[in-house]
Symmetry: C2
């Protein structure tokens, strides 16, 4: 039985890009459980762009990550000890255990822990296509973009955990799905493995007008829906190709997380094209999660929803993997494998 | 019986602000009516910011105003001759007669002409509070902003034909209504005559942060809905005070009509505040007009919806009045009185 727990706390707030010095590795003893608590051994830790926003002090939609506290993060793992009647050792669970090897969880705290079935779906998928990123894709596409058959849907960060699901769900609805990703490898994966109709490598293109031209070529009927994961020049280029009554779901603006806001060049297009631009945070739509997770899980089990993972090994690798994620060095869902 | 018709045609397309030279006054004979046509003598011509957009050649949501054709525009008047069974001389009508004293109208052309009741509502109101501007206010407020009792609703160009109605309808729904207008006279009118809770004189304020501070003072609980008539720095200032789940109805961006687009400084606020920003054009929602016009007409007849008009006299005054409108020189609905 393990008695020690390695974890990362936020040591200092980054200005601009985070560095390894912003995190501190600690080794602490595992406490004894109280009644109602379970001890979870984490198999995988999820790394996600939203964590960068939480590292800032300023007002945001969520409380900032406290200094000297365990870094926030989604986790999957196995119950190794339980003093709660709902759980027994061996149960596979998903939760928000944070950047650490073990977590002590109050089992009845709403949303803290959920049992998962790993017989048809790999456990790591519950942090990706059948987890928060998958539901994010599902919500933004179905509830904001509301695609109709034959429409053209564009998604940025298309090889990422969210973007890949957006395009595949759009294809399943009879839409043309066009991705934007950074690099030939990622674009090839998006088209060949995920089944998008096209993917634009923005790293080969210099500036808004070059991206806009590439979009025009890949979207001959214009753009009806855009799932925004990055912000900045790509958003401007999409807007230049937006159709009347098009919809933009704003899910992430990773390009602005590290520094100054990036302006939107031509907001009057929202008016002239009668567009809807709407931001959302998937954790505020919990009533829809069961429906979304059921659909996503079924698709993964049947093999009609594909995904790719970048797996870093060991808790010690978390900061570097996270810094790489913000630079787009991951390829698919970024995980840290802890066992 | 008149035999001649004075009219303005678009002589050339403006670059930047329009000038009197962009318009040409013509005097032409009135043609004889064909079967199914009516001759309408215009009492009032409506001048509206959207006309500036139509004067450009570029792609927009509507066909550009053709060169050498009569300038587009809403009109109210009286049927003076009819060869259509639906109309008789003396009928008061609203239509899109354009910048001219008389119009020959094919009575059965959908949307071309509509009879109006001037017994309880002044005829000119059908170009303002009980016309396109009023329905614009009604649609943007009710169908995009969807205000709830107790919320704070802000509207720019608050003393204008659209803005004044937005605030009064918001007040009727139990909201706090805050206007933004240019000049002490306009602001005083907005609060004293139209019943807004506050009005900010943006001309006394220099730059986004000054406007944002004034909004913060006038909107102590933040901004839940914003009806956008102007664009530019005012939009940025509003976004700095926007609440979570706030809604912006984009109706006009007059500040960008004459020149280069004005960027939106901080689009990431749409995400962090989970906002909805939506553009609309009221002419695309015709099925809702009867409901809106009935409510607006009833409020004007009862005196619970107030408005103010700037009236220029004579067809010859139309270009100058229009140029002044784009500069905010009007005070309330800008009309040209033709009789």
């Amino acid at each position: 039985m393990a008695t020690a727990n390695k974890r990362f706390v936020l040591a200092s707030r980054p200005s601009g890009e985070p560095t390894a010095q912003n995190f501190r590795l600690e080794e602490v003893p595992l406490p004894a459980l109280n009644d109602g608590e379970v001890l979870v051994r984490h198999h995988y830790l999820s790394l996600d762009p939203y964590m960068r926003g939480r590292m800032n002090e300023g007002k945001s939609y969520a409380q900032p990550q406290p200094l000297d506290a365990v870094m926030i993060g989604g986790t999957v793992g196995e119950v190794v000890e339980s003093r709660a009647p709902e759980y027994k050792a061996g149960d596979k669970v998903v939760g928000m255990g944070g950047w650490q090897q073990y977590a002590v969880v109050a089992a009845q705290q709403p949303g803290a822990l959920r049992k998962i079935d790993t017989s048809r779906v790999p456990i790591s998928a519950y942090l990706g296509a059948v987890g928060m990123p998958g539901v994010t894709a599902w919500y933004g596409l179905n509830k904001i973009i509301e695609p109709k058959e034959g429409e053209t849907i564009v998604v940025s960060a298309a090889s990422g955990a969210v973007g890949g699901v957006v395009g595949q769900l759009a294809k399943a609805k009879g839409c043309r799905a066009v991705g934007i990703a950074g690099g030939a490898d990622k674009c090839s994966h998006v088209v060949r493995d995920l089944g998008f109709d096209a993917c634009i490598d923005y790293k080969r293109l210099d500036g808004v007008s070059a991206i806009a031209s590439a979009l025009k070529e890949s979207c001959p009927d214009g753009i009806d829906g855009y799932f925004e994961n990055v912000g900045g020049p790509i958003l401007d280029a999409v807007m230049q190709n937006a159709n009347a009554f098009s919809r933009i779901a704003l899910c992430g603006m990773i390009s602005g997380y590290n520094g100054a806001p990036i302006p939107m060049a031509a907001p009057q297009l929202i008016l002239t094209n009668r567009m809807k631009v709407q931001g959302f945070i998937v954790s505020e739509h919990l009533p829809l999660w069961p429906q979304a997770l059921a659909e996503l899980g079924e698709r993964v089990a049947k093999g009609t929803l594909k995904y790719r993972e970048s797996v870093a090994q060991g808790i010690e690798s978390a900061p570097e993997a996270f810094i790489g994620l913000l630079k787009g060095r991951n390829f698919g869902k970024q995980l840290v494998k802890l066992i």
